[in-house]
């Protein structure tokens, strides 16, 4: 079990190295906890004044104020008590920073393209804060302050995804945000036939399901071992009590043997066999976490056949938290998705945008129709690096085709944060949360960002 380390650094000198090199030991459930930021005494306090504070989707405060220090939101309200030396930042709107639920920003490109990833491959181990800085800057300028990035983007198992911050210093916000799969997509220019795609979908379900007996065997073993330990301890006590007698008997036996001129043979000692420990399997340990809903499972899947197969193969895993990616032909399954509370991360694409065959039939109305059917919609830029900055525009395209503005805003903020288990720390403008905020000159989706607060820094745009 290891704790999540979050290091949004304030200055390079104050940067405490985050233990990105985390290890997966065993299958013990992992808690998602964010550690406090580096506290710098002389860090300034900021007072944000806005005509509209968008606290959460559908909840706003007119003429409100937000107090920020050390990268944390201290207070939100119509008027908040601010120290005299607080720096005042003004704007039309202030809202939570956007999060791209489907990107590969901030990681080594070769790791994104890698096809040999497995369940224990960690996106956090390919984080690169040194190159491609301009993409981070562009994303930040568009108000995208968090991105769920993924190595092994097109591999059948991409491994553990991470949530990264686009702050100037860069940071890993969460190093085990999800376990990622793809199903029936084009890999290296080839897409399998329908049978390949269905069998891929089946194998995702059975792989995840294999984690359940694995964990069960570990638990059973621990109980069996405790029982055996207890029994054997009692037995040893008995043996110790009987030792004098046993020794006398043995001495007699030796004497006898000598008299007869035979070789003395020790009595055979018998005891209950110790239970055998199941062999450790780090992959299955990750699948167990997924099967038990400790981390969400993201599956990129588009066609109806593989969607049907995937939903069927995961139907017996009640605790699994499945999230669909792309899901071009999801509408026939909308009812089931809504009933099983499976969110869909859509990728609204402009016409003529090059796309693989699985996107054939893509239309911008999908997000709105899914919303109408009661499915939770999230929005991603499609696993790209350069496209992250387009996220608000993509959301607007979905809005233009029927998605409600509230749902679009939710998709970019608290919806995405909740889907990846960081909803308690990000996604809304509430006291106690991280101050990943955008100050805009208009409404959240159509206004231009004038300031962003990220990683404890105020960045003027």
């Amino acid at each position: 079990m290891h704790a999540l380390k979050l290091s949004l650094s304030l200055t390079a000198a104050a940067l405490l190295s985050s233990a990105v090199l985390s290890q997966d030991e065993g299958d013990s459930p992992k808690t998602h906890e964010a550690t406090a930021l580096v506290v710098i005494e002389e860090a300034p306090t900021y007072l944000i004044q806005a005509n509209e504070v968008v606290v959460a989707p559908g909840k706003t405060i007119k003429n409100g104020q937000v107090l920020v220090k050390n990268g944390m939101i201290l207070a939100v309200g119509e008027t908040v008590t601010a120290p005299d030396d607080a720096i005042v930042v003004q704007g039309e709107t202030v809202c939570a920073g956007f999060m791209d639920a489907w990107s590969s920003l901030g990681i080594d490109p070769a790791s994104v393209a890698e096809m040999g990833t497995g369940a224990t491959t960690e996106t956090a181990s390919a984080v690169d804060h040194f190159t491609q800085d301009h993409f981070r800057v562009e994303a930040r300028n568009a108000g995208v302050l968090l991105a769920r990035s993924q190595v092994g983007k097109d591999a059948s198992i991409g491994g553990l995804g991470a949530v990264l911050a686009t702050s100037p210093a860069g940071a890993v916000v969460l190093d085990d945000a999800c376990l990622s799969f793809t199903c029936g997509i084009t890999r290296s220019g080839r897409r399998g036939d329908v049978f390949d795609r269905i069998s891929e979908a089946d194998s995702i379900g059975s792989r995840i399901a294999s984690g359940i007996p694995y964990r069960q065997s570990l638990v059973e073993y621990s109980y069996e071992l405790a029982e055996w330990d207890k029994a054997i301890a009692e037995k040893e006590e008995e043996l110790a009590d009987d030792f004098k007698k046993a020794k006398k008997d043995r001495d007699k036996e030796i004497e006898k043997a000598e008299e007869k001129g035979k070789e003395f043979k020790e009595d055979r000692y018998k005891e209950d066999k110790r239970p055998r420990a199941p062999s450790l399997d780090p992959d299955k340990a990750v699948f167990a976490r997924a099967a038990h809903g400790e981390i969400p499972v993201i599956v990129e899947v588009h066609g109806t056949q593989e969607l049907r197969a995937l939903l069927a193969s995961t139907a017996d895993l009640p605790r699994l938290r499945l999230v669909l990616l792309g899901a071009t032909h999801a509408m026939p399954f909308a009812e089931q998705l809504a009933a099983r509370r499976i969110p869909v991360i859509v990728r609204p694409m402009a016409a003529g945008q090059p796309a693989e065959p699985e996107f054939k039939g893509h239309d911008l109305g999908l997000a709105g129709r899914l919303e109408g059917a009661g499915v939770q919609v999230l929005i991603g830029s499609g696993g790209s690096v350069a496209g992250v900055r387009d996220l608000p525009v993509l959301a607007q395209m979905a809005v233009a085709h029927g998605l409600s503005e509230k749902a679009a805003f939710e998709a970019l903020t608290i919806g995405a944060a909740r889907a990846f288990d960081i909803g308690a720390d990000f996604g809304t403008v509430e006291a106690g949360k991280h101050a990943e905020l955008i100050v805009l000159n208009g409404s959240p989706l159509s206004g231009r960002a004038t300031y962003v607060f990220t990683g404890g820094e105020l960045v003027e745009l």
């Binding site: 390079a12 000198a13 190295s17 233990a19 990105v20 090199l21 290890q23 997966d24 030991e25 990681i107 080594d108 070769a110 790791s111 393209a113 890698e114 040999g116 990833t117 497995g118 224990t120 491959t121 960690e122 996106t123 181990s125 390919a126 984080v127 690169d128 804060h129 040194f130 190159t131 491609q132 301009h134 190595v151 092994g152 491994g159 054997i232 037995k235 040893e236 043996l239 110790a240 030792f243 007698k245 046993a246 020794k247 006398k248 008997d249 043995r250 001495d251 020790e266 009595d267 000692y269 005891e271 110790r274 450790l280 780090p282």
Partner: protein
């Protein structure tokens, strides 16, 4: 009586050897005296008109000629025209082996001993360019590589060349061929996680055996025999497995043992970073596994960007041979040049330079380049002598000319950073192992002198029967003719030898 005989015979024997065989090695004598117009000691001020006395391979005295009493009977090398300088120390190289890397990811059970080729031309070049100490490690295209060793470029067997056997391991954070950074790190993490699991299992099974044996003895009414020899408890600053003393070290697999000893801090590690993004993970990896005290970072030219993290870790670096990092801004296309060693010098991070190739861009070229880019001369020279020596734990042995240090001395024709300087003599452990006036390859390349043997058949042409001279026309048909040819060659050698003496004189005049 015998004592007297020894005293008289040694000098006689020595003079006999030197008189008759001018090329005979100075090692025949216990003591060698090196004279130089200037000695750059790398341990304080230069010495003008100095002498170095080397006894039994080690420097026994060094100082101004006026202050040092030299044994009257010791052979003398050098003279007022020469500059003496400590032999260069190559902090890290994968040259001199049949190939630098293996196909397998994790190979700590391999040893470069089995790969070093003592007659590799590289070692000849080392003598020629004054590199007297080399840390041979496997290449960077690995996850965990085999065991390295420190050698000198002298000897016909690896054992003869060895200064420190079984020295250090290479670990790479940059992706090995066919991997990406994510999968490279996955393999590396799993290697050390497996190590811990393995050791834990061994301890567990040893405990079980011991418990069973105790119960068995109780049940049988038998007093137990005293315990046999046990293993050692695990050391290490990163993590340890309790109870390892129950496991005999000799029972641990050869694939596991080197890794265990690494974590225990018994081996040096050289951790390669191929990009700045590898540096923090490398430091984290070293910290987690208790390698901080024994690891040195081997960094590529772009890693200067992570210099602050390196500084904070307290680790030293071995630099890539490419010292000028050029980067193009992806937006403005503007090029930025960074002279990498200067960054480390300014941050106060100990750094060693490495050769770009085995001859022309060797260590003194690299040091001179540093000075050309404005680095302090002392810092540049230290980066090819004392710093690498310290990095290899040989600071008390090589890298500077001091009493007690190995007698590794270069006699240069001028300043070590002057592009017109030559290594005239290379002395290792008091033994003259290179003499430029006898360097056949140099003479061939610079003065067009054909090496002995290369022209043997041509020069003997007039004396050779015409029917066997032309290859392929009339080949010798019987054994008798072949023998004749061999004899001709043998004669030819004698003639050549004479020619070469003349050549040597010409070279010296030049």
């Amino acid at each position: 009586m015998s004592l007297l005989r020894n005293r008289t015979l040694v000098p006689i024997a020595a003079s006999f050897l030197f008189g008759i065989l001018p090329s005979a090695s100075a090692a025949a004598s216990d003591t060698v005296v090196i004279e130089a117009g200037r000695i750059i000691t790398q341990a304080g001020d230069d010495i003008i008109d100095g002498v170095i006395v080397i006894t039994d391979g080690r420097i026994s005295a060094i100082g101004a000629a006026a202050d040092i009493e030299t044994p009257w009977d010791a052979p003398v090398m050098g003279g007022p025209d020469y500059t003496a300088f400590p032999g260069f120390v190559e902090a890290h190289t994968n040259r001199g082996m049949d190939r630098p890397n293996e196909n397998l990811d994790v190979t700590p059970f391999l040893n470069v001993r089995d790969s070093i080729d003592p007659v590799n031309a590289y070692f000849e070049d080392c003598k020629r360019w004054g590199v007297t100490t080399l840390n041979v490690q496997q290449g960077n295209n690995t996850v965990v590589a085999g065991n390295g060793r420190i050698v000198k470029p002298v000897g016909v067997t690896v054992e003869e060349m060895t200064i420190r056997p079984d020295f250090g391991y290479k670990i790479s954070l940059a992706p090995k061929g066919g991997k990406s950074r994510a999968t490279q790190r996955q393999t590396l993490n799993r290697t050390f996680n497996d190590l811990r699991d393995n050791l834990t299992n061994m301890v567990e099974s040893a405990k079980q055996d011991e418990d069973f044996a105790r119960r068995e003895a109780l049940g049988q009414g038998r007093e137990r025999d005293a315990d046999e020899g046990e293993g050692r408890a695990m050391l290490g600053t990163g993590w340890t497995v309790d109870g390892l003393e129950m496991v005999k070290r000799s029972s641990i697999d050869e694939k596991v043992l080197p890794l265990l000893e690494m974590v225990e801090g018994r081996h040096r590690t050289f951790i390669y970073c191929g990009a700045p993004m590898d540096v923090q993970p490398a430091i984290d990896f070293a910290t987690m596994n208790g390698l901080l005290g024994t690891a040195t970072l081997v960094v590529d030219d772009s890693c200067w960007k992570a210099a602050d993290a390196i500084k904070a870790s307290g680790m030293s670096v071995i630099l890539d041979s490419n010292m000028l990092h050029i980067e193009r801004d992806p937006v403005t296309e503007e090029e930025t040049e960074t002279f990498v060693p200067s960054v480390y010098a300014e941050k106060g991070i100990p750094f060693a330079l490495t050769s770009a190739n085995q001859s022309t861009n060797s260590l003194w070229f690299q040091a001179a380049l540093c000075v050309g880019y404005g680095m302090d001369r002392g810092a540049a020279l230290a980066a090819v002598t004392t710093t690498p020596a310290d990095l290899l734990g040989l600071g008390e042995v090589v890298g500077s000319l001091e009493v007690g240090h190995a007698g590794n001395v270069l006699l240069l024709s001028g300043d070590p950073l002057d592009m017109t300087s030559w290594v005239e003599y290379t002395v290792i452990d008091g033994e003259k192992i290179y003499d430029r006036s006898k360097d056949i390859r140099n003479k061939h390349l610079l003065y067009g002198v054909e090496p002995r043997g290369a022209t043997a058949i041509e020069s003997d042409a007039s004396e050779t029967p015409s029917d066997i001279e032309v290859d392929g026309v009339d080949k010798p048909t019987d054994e008798a003719t072949e023998e004749e040819v061999t004899e001709e060659h043998a004669d030819g050698h004698g003639d050549d030898h004479g020619d070469e003496k003349e050549v040597e004189e010409t070279v010296k005049k030049d």
